[in-house]
């Protein structure tokens, strides 16, 4: 009986959620007259008519007619792009990281966190989500940043609306293979790399042995850890590995070759030094383009020219913003990459199609084309420019109000003729 009730409750919740989502994204919207970039920084369409229905883009055409019943957003003289994606954040997991209570992105006493998912810890009401989306960033990769060792669990791709923010739940297994991690794992990289390879070898042997058994009757349901490692080893889930030093990146390439897994390289300070090898290995790179100082002995070769160099070598690049609170500044970071030699179109790709493909959401997000989720942003100028900003932001077809806790504070204190202003 108890079980029945909980199932009924679950069904009711799901139903409500579906209805709610349907009601907000059902609006038919036409975005007209703008200069649209439909495929990252490419696929330019002048005077674009973008039709949105049922949360999806249904058509993109130059000068196309607007069917009856569509609300029109006039983008004449403006730029239209897919919503951008910040490729490495802890959005939804962290509130006030330093002194404001729990930070769910950090679990310093937990070890061996291979099977855990961040999803139960996500808070869609987090104020950093609206602060981010009103700047045109509609998607974010989110993960844990700290554990007691190298394993950071399974991360997700979020869409930054209010309700159903998980776009892809089991998007990648995050592993920290950097200096700080080695410190926690035996205190030496020798221990760290050995443990990583051991763990994957064990998992591979186990999986191979299970595959040889024809009789499934005795097969136990795999643990969360086994399921995760199996997904990685069978190519269904990539590894997001945080590595900076060139020598460590070479270890990572060897790891990928050894186990045939799909790897995304995060941090990647010295990745540009082995750009050709990364391109050959098909490893995408997620980096913070403003970083250009030798922060420690892992990042001596770091330069803001890295994004452009990696792109030139044929490596897919995506961007890390300067911190989760300022995930919105991933757009400025793209501009910085351009100022240091990356082509504009490549930087736009790095904000859209590249992270979409890396993190497994490329079939539903990243481009402005029929069938895609309608993450569409109308900008008042070149979106990478510091003084440009969005005039409209759609996420999965929902026209998000350009309001956040920050804009409310702004409006409250715009005039100081009474203080504090307690009215809303």
């Amino acid at each position: 009986m108890r079980k029945l009730i909980s199932i009924a409750a679950l069904a009711a919740t799901t139903l409500t959620a579906v209805c709610f989502t349907a009601s907000v994204s059902a609006e038919d919207i036409a975005i007209t007259g703008g200069r649209a970039f439909t495929n990252g920084g490419n696929g330019e369409v002048e005077n674009a008519t973008i039709l949105v229905s049922g949360g999806k883009i249904t058509s993109v055409s130059s000068g196309g007619a607007v069917p009856d019943g569509y609300r029109v957003i006039d983008a004449t003289g403006k730029w239209v792009t897919a919503g951008f994606m910040a490729a490495d954040t802890s959005l939804g997991l962290t509130e006030v990281s330093l002194s404001g209570g729990i930070n769910d992105a950090s679990a310093p006493t937990e070890k061996g966190a291979i099977g855990l998912s961040i999803v139960p810890a996500l808070n869609p009401a987090n104020i950093f989500i609206p602060n981010t989306r009103i700047e045109g960033v509609t998607r974010a990769m989110s993960r844990m940043t700290t554990s007691g060792d190298m394993w950071l669990g399974v991360g997700a791709v979020l869409k930054l609306n209010d309700s159903d923010i998980v776009a892809r739940e089991k998007a990648f297994l995050a592993i920290d293979l950097d200096e700080g991690s080695a410190n926690k794992v035996g205190g030496s990289r020798a221990v760290l790399w050995s443990k990583l390879n051991e763990k994957f070898q064990e998992a591979k042997d186990k999986m191979d042995a299970a595959a040889k058994k024809d009789d499934d009757k005795d097969a136990k349901r795999p643990s969360a850890e086994d399921a995760t490692l199996n997904a990685v080893l069978s190519g269904d889930m990539p590894v997001y590995a945080v590595v900076n030093r060139k020598a460590d990146i070479l270890q990572l390439i060897a790891f990928q070759n050894r186990f045939g897994v799909r790897v995304i390289l995060g941090g990647a300070a010295e990745a540009w030094m082995v750009a050709d090898m990364l391109a050959a290995a098909g490893i995408g790179v997620v980096l913070e383009p403003s970083n250009n100082l030798p922060g420690n002995f892992d990042t001596l070769g770091q330069t803001s020219a890295a994004a452009g160099r990696l792109h030139a070598a044929g490596v897919k690049v995506a961007f890390i913003p300067p911190g989760t609170h300022n995930a919105r500044l991933v757009v400025q970071n793209a501009g910085i990459a351009v100022s240091m030699g990356m082509p504009w179109a490549a930087a736009m790709d790095a904000l859209t199609v590249n992270p979409a493909e890396m993190f497994g959401v490329g079939d539903s997000y990243g481009k402005l084309s029929a069938g895609m989720d309608a993450d569409v942003v109308v900008w008042d100028g070149d979106p990478l420019e510091l003084m440009s900003s969005p005039d409209a932001v759609l996420i999965a077809g929902e026209d998000m109000p350009l309001v956040s806790r920050q804009t409310k504070l702004r409006d409250r204190y715009k005039d100081l003729d009474r203080s504090p202003a307690f009215d809303r």
Binding site: V96, S97, L98, S99, G100, I127, F128, N131, K246, E270, M273, S290, N291, N292, L293, P294, G295, N296, F297, T299, L300, G301, Q302, T303, S304, A305, P322, G323, H325, N326, L329, Q332, G335, I336, V338, S339, M340, L384, E385, L386, M387, S388, S389, Q406, T407, L409, R410, Y413, K414, L416, S419, P420
Partner: protein, 469 residues
């Protein structure tokens, strides 16, 4: 003997004045106010004229098709009709922009240098909440690669500060962004000292629960304010002792000076108006409290640093003549930064208060022009109409004023130091880079001739040596 002392004390000034000493007076002890003098010497420079540029003069003026002449390390002429002397280097800057060099009033370059390893953590003298005796210049590592990156971002002058763990962190130092072998080689000659203080969360977090302090405080904002006030009261007492020593000595008495206290030396320097206070403060109420502490002890706060909530009290800051040194959009990483808004800088400007864009970051210092651009755009969208020329006051003139060096730098004015940036285009664009950065007329960064740029000792022989950064 005891009796005689008492008698002299009783007779006091009158006796001293009537009998000017008994010939046994020792040397007068005066504290050397500049024991670590600047050894800065300008780099070689010639006569240079930059022509055809869009010039923001830093005082709110904008000249299209303007020229600026640099001679003897100074700005010698600026305008649309400037003639170069024979032999001057001519730089055609058509399509490019010229501004005063950026002055960052909040940097930890050199004291928290790159690489940021534990051995380089030299910014917070934790252990006592009041360490006015700690001087940033004694931790300043001139080989910090961050200085070159900052030059590439157009930074010509910076105030290097102790950290914010303590109520009073210690003395700051103002430097020119030039290569130096020792810290003194970088010191801005004649720039007044600053003193770093900190409000709010940091000191109470560092000392709460008896951590790091034998006195077990501060643990709260109450304890913070008690700590500042006691420190000022002690400094007043110390100053009175020195004043009395001076009076007595000049009256001919054979008196010993008060015992030297290096902590109180600096605090008393603030009370005498010789040292400017730069105070890390986020919340409006913390700043409001400090404005009253400032009045109680009769000193001036030159600037609140970070000042994330200045927009809530911008009128009061204007009334009290206190600058706010702010980020464009950092917020949220701790409770006292939770109410940060993107319009903080333009709202402070609108209220007629002194607004400064600062970095507090080895990364941010490289792109302060971009921070100003974001703040300007956000202000305009909120209906605050500010020109780019006025916005540049946030980057050079206002910081120069708060550091007490505006008579020498901060604007492109004939006679002032030729601290100048030639930008590849509009510096409010993300795509624009500094092509040339001049300090006192000498080129300290040249983007188009990377081989001429300095490489710090640490970077020699390392991956990425001399690379474009």
């Amino acid at each position: 003997m005891l009796k005689r002392t008492a008698l002299v004390a009783a007779l006091g000034l009158v006796a001293a004045a009537c009998t000017p000493g008994d010939g046994e007076q020792g040397d007068y002890v005066e504290i050397d106010r500049d024991p670590f003098p600047s050894s800065y010497t300008p780099l070689p420079s010639g006569s240079t004229i930059i022509t055809g540029a869009t010039i923001l003069d830093g005082a709110g003026g904008r000249i299209e098709g303007g020229s600026i002449l640099i001679e003897n390390g100074k700005v010698s002429a600026i305008g649309t009709d400037v003639t170069a002397p024979d032999g001057a280097t001519v730089i055609d800057a058509a399509g490019r922009w010229v501004t005063p060099g950026i002055i960052d009033v909040h940097s930890h370059l050199g004291v928290y240098p790159s690489p940021g390893v534990q051995a380089h953590s030299d910014g917070n003298e934790i252990g006592d909440p009041v360490t006015a005796d700690a001087w940033a210049e004694h931790a300043l590592w001139p080989q910090d690669p961050g200085f070159i990156r900052a030059a590439a971002g157009g930074v010509t002058v910076a105030q290097l500060l102790p950290g914010s763990a303590n109520l009073v962190g210690g003395r700051s130092v103002t430097v020119k962004n030039v290569p130096g072998r020792v810290a003194q080689d970088m010191k801005f000659p004649g720039a007044p000292y600053g003193m770093k203080m900190a409000c709010g969360e940091n000191p109470k977090r560092v000392y709460a629960g008896g951590n790091n302090s034998p006195e077990f405080r501060p643990s709260t904002r109450m304890g913070n304010v008690a700590g500042y006030r006691q420190a000022w009261a002690d400094a007043q007492e110390y100053q009175r002792q020195w004043d009395k020593y001076e009076r007595d000595y000049k009256a001919g008495k054979d008196v010993l000076p008060p015992a030297r206290d290096l902590n109180l030396d600096t605090l008393a320097g603030v009370l005498r108006g010789e040292i400017a206070v730069h105070m890390h403060c986020y919340r409006a109420d913390d700043m409001g409290t400090m404005l009253d502490v400032m009045k109680e002890f009769d000193y001036q706060i030159a600037s609140f640093q970070h000042a994330v909530e200045s927009y809530k009290i911008a009128d009061k800051l204007a009334e009290n003549n206190v600058c706010s040194a702010m980020w464009a959009d950092w917020y949220g990483f701790k409770m006292e930064a939770y109410d940060g808004i993107r319009e903080n800088i333009p709202f402070v400007h609108k209220a007629g208060a002194c607004a400064i864009v600062h970095s507090d970051s080895a990364s941010g210092i490289q792109r302060l022009n971009q921070e100003a651009a974001k703040a300007l755009a956000d202000g305009r969208k909120a209906g605050v109409d500010i020109s780019k020329a006025d916005a540049w006051t946030w980057l050079s003139l206002n910081p120069a004023k708060s550091l007490g060096i505006a008579d020498q730098t901060g604007t492109l004015t004939a006679g002032k130091n030729a601290d100048i940036v030639l930008w590849s285009g509009d510096p409010f664009s993300v795509y624009t880079k500094a092509d040339l950065t001049f300090v006192d007329g000498a080129v300290v960064f040249d983007r188009l001739n990377p081989d001429n740029n300095p490489v710090m000792d640490f970077e020699l022989g390392q991956p990425g040596e001399g690379d474009a950064k």
